[in-house]
Amino acid sequence: MATGSAPRDGENNGTDAASVVYEHVTKRYPGQESPAVQDLSLEVPAGEICVLVGPSGCGKTTAMRMVNRMVEITEGDIKVGGTSVRDRDAADLRREIGYVIQQVGLFPHRTVAANIGTVPHLLGWQHDRIAARTSELLDLVGLGADLGDRYPAQLSGGQQQRVGVARALAADPHVMLMDEPFGAIDPIARERLQNEFLRLQGEIRKTVLFVTHDIDEAIKMGDRVAVMKNGGHLAQFATPAELLMDPADDFVEDFVGADRALKRLSLMRVSDIDLWEAPLAFVGQATSEVKLKLHRAEVPHVLLVDSQRRPLGWLSERDLAGEVVPEHPDSPAEPRLDRDDVMRDALANLLQSETQYAAVVDASGEIDGVLSVEIISEFLGSPEAREEEHPAAERPHD
């Protein structure tokens, strides 16, 4: 996770984020037999992104819209920052909660600046304060201040959704509700907006309820993911890694997809895994010494490094046939991976290259270890890996 899933406390440059707690929430629409949301209980800690994900009709949007009372709760309660939303005037409550929707819903007749200033205006802020906040927000979401005078129709889809996010953040809300915010945007721009939002969230640390039907987006964006199934049941509420490791039932397993192992890899970095130690050789070293190392090593190839331990290449048997280690090895040290590379990309690199082993270097280029396909598959299958993601006591394994 780019934003990290550790509890976030400490610095916060705005209104404190508030927790959102669902307590046995049920929504029944008149004239419908089964409830849209049934007995939903979950707790979103302050400052985290909770993604509600599920097939269409699973009640995820309804669940989200009950937080700001766009949909009224039938039974149960939702508490935002400890206060029941049912005790609040709906309009007042909504002004404290950021709201971003798939259609963006910018007011076409108002300029970008006026759109962003909507809630501050409703709250009666002074004109100067609104103007200052507006330009601050345009900057925050990566738009030029000159866009403030434009009308929404003059912006691209991606720019419009940035304005939508800026508008939702205008009055520094405790909580943000985002209903498929990037759903109508082309894949490339969506990816960029997701990354930007994660970067932004790193700064603003809002409590975010994020609705999507796209499991990949859920895994990418969520500190926690609530998987919902039809009839408004919560199928599983877990961190993305837990979800991929340990789907609670067949529905979740199906929903996260057959490639969940690969998805898990996209949540990890190379540094998260124990690497193998490569037998190292230096130029001019006696080959007999090197061959001895080779016997004891996990990796059946010798890596030639320079005096700063930076990989130069892999030594072949022919390279080792002489008395001393040659200066120019037969094969280069490719692929060369960085400790911070995402594991999924690392695996792709490995599979594409001719060797089965990749030299992993740290930020200074010094050799850190060797990654192989074997390590990755062992890691995914090992109980140790499972324990790493969640307490062993919580879940005995088959």
């Binding site: 709201y99 929707i101 819903g105 910018l106 076409p108 009308y151 003059q154 508008r167």
Partner: protein, 238 residues
């Protein structure tokens, strides 16, 4: 007096080589028009009032009805039915039917003309409100706009193009219908069109042109107004 006018014109203008036009009741006699235009000033001013006042009243009433129907959808069919039924009453009959109820005079004409505008304006306001993007309404509500703030700040401004289109249609039809005001003693340019058995073409054409001019003027004003109040519609996509 009306009967005598053409002959008076002949006497005054027989030096202009048009001597035949007026007695022959030619299609349009410019010299007669030039000499008698002042007869049309008062009817024209009356006609302006007969258009402007019903449009204003009709707009206010239709707006109220449309807002009610917008909030309570079930009221829409009865309102549409009622205004529609009123709209289909033959216009001359309606003017005459009103006289036993409220007497003759300008007010009677204004009431009848107002009633005729309702259906068009009401329908267009509703169409405009229906065309407001659902996303903008949802976002507005979700940000904490009250129902009234949403209506006056978002929905009605966005409905302006349709509302103004409705007013423009209503103006053209009211300008024409207002000529019937003469039958209830309401004045207007109808006095120059329905002059009794003797039809004088030049007078008829002048009055008709003035009716059209009034309609065009109002129409132009509304177009101008629309440009002023909907600047976002001219914004060129970047």
């Amino acid at each position: 007096m009306i009967e005598a006018l053409p002959y008076a014109a002949v006497v005054l203008h027989n030096r202009t080589n048009e001597s035949g036009c007026v007695p022959d009741n030619g299609l349009f006699c410019p010299s007669w028009a030039a000499d008698n235009w002042h007869d049309f000033v008062t009817p024209s001013l009356q006609h302006l009032v007969l258009v402007a006042v019903p449009i204003l009243l009709g707009f206010v009433i239709a707006l109220g009805l449309a807002i009610v129907a917008h909030r309570r959808r079930w009221l829409m069919p009865p309102i549409l039915g009622a205004t529609g039924a009123l709209y289909t009453i033959p216009s001359i009959a309606f003017f005459f039917l009103l006289t036993p109820l409220i007497g003759r005079g300008r007010e009677t004409a204004i009431i009848a003309l107002t009633v005729y505008t309702l259906q068009i304006i009401f329908r267009n306001i509703l169409a405009g409100l229906d065309n407001v993007p659902a996303g903008a309404k949802d976002a507005g509500r979700g940000m904490g706009l009250t129902q009234n703030q949403l209506l006056w700040g978002v929905e009605l401004p966005l409905a302006l193009p349709e509302i103004i289109a409705g007013l423009r249609i209503a103006i053209v039809s009211t300008a024409a219908l207002a000529t019937l005001a003469v039958f209830v003693g309401g004045g207007g340019l109808g006095t120059e069109i329905f002059t009794g058995s003797k039809v004088f073409n030049t007078r008829l054409i002048m009055a008709s042109l003035l009716v059209m001019a009034i309609a065009f003027c109002f129409d132009g004003l509304l177009l101008l107004l629309q440009r002023l109040v909907t600047p976002w519609r001219r914004a060129v996509p970047a």
